[in-house]
């Protein structure tokens, strides 16, 4: 379970996140929607423990800087940050060793699952953006985290890879993991999400739960454009 309480992040005079609070339960997929500069990546990086902030962020009840919390967190950055001269397989081996994962077979399973087996000997710098993203995802999943955060995971992926990634989201959800996805590509998220937070100017402007069949609910599209543009979609 991921819990964000009253998180505020300032860059000098710029308020990137303003008192944000939300929760993603186990087996739930949360979406952070918003235009560029809304503060989505900032809160994602804060959850990953990469930024200083005020407020509290808990992963399964533990402060996100706690070693056990770090062990339970998987983070996929917006831009894959691979090591140029390590191969795909070596990336997974390095992360497996760094996270002290005893089970060697998990590496092979991930390579198979993400169709990277034939690319295992390719170096990070030789991979396309989509392939790099896949390696980045494998690195985030190899230690079997219970909370996984994705920062703009669809950017640069081809339609096949996007379809695959959506399948991964569903699998993670089915395994009871908490998944948080930041994106500005509203047309790619369809209906696999459970809760969507629409961000604007560092705040959560609206929260919508996915309850299909409720005729009074506005669609996510309508809500998004209403908030970000002040118009109806």
């Amino acid at each position: 379970m991921l819990s964000v309480n009253g998180v505020t992040k300032k860059y000098k005079n710029f308020l990137a996140n303003d008192n944000l609070s939300f929760t993603i339960d186990n087996g739930e997929i949360g979406i952070l929607l918003g235009p560029n500069g809304a503060g989505k990546s900032t809160i994602i990086k804060s959850i990953a423990g990469l930024l200083k902030y005020s407020g509290t962020i808990e992963i399964n009840g533990l402060d996100n800087h706690d070693m056990e919390a770090k062990r339970q967190l998987g983070y996929i950055p917006e831009i894959p940050a691979l090591y140029d001269t390590l191969t795909v397989e070596e990336h997974l081996e390095f992360i497996r060793r760094a996270y002290k994962v005893e089970d060697i077979s998990v590496k092979e399973k991930l390579l198979e699952r993400f169709e990277l087996s034939d690319k295992r000997k390719k170096m990070g710098k030789e991979l396309s953006k989509g392939m790099q993203q896949k390696v980045s995802i494998c690195c985030a999943l190899i230690h079997n985290p219970s909370v996984i955060i994705f920062d703009e995971p669809m950017v640069g992926l081809d339609p096949h890879a996007i379809k695959e990634l959506k399948q991964v989201f569903q699998e993670l959800k089915a395994e009871g993991k908490s998944v948080l996805i930041s994106t500005h590509m509203i047309d790619t998220i369809e209906d696999y999400w459970d809760v969507a937070h629409i961000m604007m100017n560092g705040k959560i402007a609206a929260t919508k739960h996915n309850r299909p069949g409720n005729p009074e609910d506005k669609s996510l599209d309508e809500l998004f454009f209403e908030i970000t543009e002040g118009t109806k979609a």
Binding site: K70, L73, A81, Y83, E93, R97
Partner: protein, 540 residues
């Protein structure tokens, strides 16, 4: 196409007023340094013309080597991502784009000439070199660079495909130097009777012999210009038409090479552009490119990554990357250049200090090598870890992760320490025995680790203030650490020497080892404090 490129470059220059100020200050300091050479009245070797010419000849050869290294290294492997996008994909010929690559090394060449200029008072104090002679030397150094720099850019384009091909010109040049050194020593042995006699020669005699050496005069390009420089320094005006003729021939050869060659370097330039982006990123953090261990070439072989657990995975991964990048990953080229400069200082000190005070030369060598660490070791590959999330995410203590990253540079540090040891040994052969030598190697590795940790702290704490602020504070901090470390180490050494030392060599070893112990303790303390750079500062 020239005007479009000029427009872009001038616009970029306009946006850098600080760079212009630095350029103006640089020119003023260079000019005033050269002029002040005439005003220095204290000279260590008054009127030793042979030694003076020998030093200038060695420096001219150094200018040749430096220009070769810069031209070859930047050359076609220096293009930025923007250049690849706008120039290689744009309506420009391959020849024009190759000429564009001159720009990448030009700043390094200019900085090199600035260093030569501001050191002219130092050479004047040593040799009695006046302003006029300094200007003659600088003119010839400039000519050598002007000839070699475009030639090596051409060579870099011809030998761009693959690591092995790129090694050929470098190996040829290294082999030429070794052959030259061997023949020079053989000539000296022939003249002075034995190697023992040669070893006991003072540095001024060796430089004097070097200046007159037929071996040096035969060295390609640099040798011919050394001969011409001698004529110019002696006031023989015949050097003017000869120099003009030589330049015309070199110019014609260059034009012919550029016009007749079918270049095929775009793919290599493109694949290196991303690497250059990393280098620029590291450079913004105030770290010299070479010190980050960023390599432009790497190939997958049969090697297997199968070591490390927890934080130590970082240590083994860095070592693994280093080995894959180059078989000679432990050679720090920047360090070699600065160490060569330190050797020059040691020769000067050796020439002045009486034979029975060789320990002074050793201690000068130790301190000089330590001071140069302010430039040589600035954080290494660990700086690049800060561009990736893993060092922040992996659930291990920050102290361990940082220590593991830094210690992965120990092979490079050990090799550098070995080079420094050999250099001091060359100058202070008798007092620098096994015990002080081993102590010195330990001291250098310890202090290199400390310098790297200081570099990391500066990069993380002051990164937002720009490259120059980071570098300045780092230099000052390392110099301060040297002084701070000397106080307790001198007290410790004072006590131990009085009790244990039975010879000057043992005393030297104890002094050096005491320094190593103190710097090691400071390093441990600094790594402990540095954990906050992972835990308390925004990652990116």
């Amino acid at each position: 196409m020239v005007s479009a490129t000029l427009y872009r470059k001038l616009n970029m220059a306009k946006r850098k007023p600080v760079a212009w100020i630095i350029v103006i200050v640089g020119i003023i300091s260079a000019v005033s340094s050269v002029i002040s050479a005439d005003k220095i009245t204290f000279h260590l070797y008054e009127g030793d013309e042979m030694m003076t010419f020998g030093i200038l000849s060695a420096l001219l050869l150094f200018a040749f080597d430096y220009s070769f290294a810069v031209g070859f290294r930047s050359g076609v492997l220096g293009y930025s991502l923007a250049d690849v996008t706008f120039h290689m994909a744009g309506p420009f010929t391959k020849r024009f784009n190759l000429l564009l690559s001159f720009e990448y090394g030009l700043s390094s060449i200019l900085v090199f000439f600035w260093i030569l200029c501001v050191n002219m008072p130092f050479f004047s104090m040593w040799t009695g070199l006046g302003t006029k002679d300094s200007l003659v030397f600088l003119l010839f150094a400039l000519i050598v660079s002007a000839v070699i720099f475009p030639l090596t850019s051409y060579v870099s384009a011809r030998f761009s495909s693959g690591m092995k091909a790129r090694l050929i010109p470098v190996l040829v040049l290294i082999a030429l130097h070794f052959l030259g050194a061997f023949l020079f020593i053989r000539d000296l042995i022939g003249k002075y009777g034995s190697f023992e006699n040669v070893k006991s020669l003072k540095s001024n005699v060796i430089f004097g012999e070097l200046g007159q050496s037929r071996i040096l005069r035969s060295f390609p390009v640099a040798g011919q210009f050394i001969t011409l420089m001698e004529k110019a320094l002696k006031g023989d005006l015949m050097f003017v038409p000869v120099l003009a003729a030589v330049l015309v021939v070199y110019g014609a050869v260059l034009i012919l090479l550029y016009r007749k060659t079918k270049f095929d370097y775009y793919e290599d330039a493109y694949s290196n552009a991303q690497k250059i982006a990393d280098i620029i990123e590291a450079s913004k953090a105030g770290v010299e490119a070479v010190n980050t261990g960023i390599s432009r070439t790497a190939t997958v072989g049969n090697e297997k990554f199968d070591k490390g657990w927890g934080a130590s995975a970082f240590f083994h991964m860095h070592l693994f990357e280093n080995r894959r990048t180059s078989k000679l990953f432990f050679v720090n080229k920047v360090a070699l250049v600065y160490r060569a400069f330190a050797l020059l200082i040691l020769f000067m000190v050796d020439g002045v200090v009486p034979d029975d005070l060789e320990a002074v030369v050793v201690l000068t060598g130790v301190v000089t090598m330590l001071v140069l660490n302010a430039i040589v070791f600035g954080g290494g590959k660990t700086v690049l870890e800060f561009n990736r999330p893993y060092i922040f995410l992996v659930p291990e203590s920050s102290v361990r992760k940082l220590a593991m990253c830094l210690t992965a540079d120990i092979p490079e540090m050990a090799f550098d320490a070995l080079i420094c040891t050999v250099m001091i040994k060359i100058v202070a052969f008798h007092e620098f025995t096994w015990f002080p030598m081993i102590s010195f190697i330990i001291l250098m590795i310890t202090f290199d680790l400390l310098s790297s940790a200081t570099g990391l702290l500066c990069v993380r704490l002051l990164g937002g203030f720009g490259k120059f602020a980071v570098m300045f504070v780092r230099y000052m901090a390392i110099l301060a650490l040297i002084v701070i470390g000397m106080i307790p180490s001198n007290i410790m050494a004072g006590l131990l020497v009085a009790v244990i030392a039975d010879s000057m060599a043992t005393a030297l070893g104890i002094i050096i080892l005491s320094m190593a112990a103190v710097y090691f303790l400071i390093w441990i303390a600094m790594i402990f404090l540095s954990r906050n750079i992972l835990e308390k500062i925004d990652a990116f």
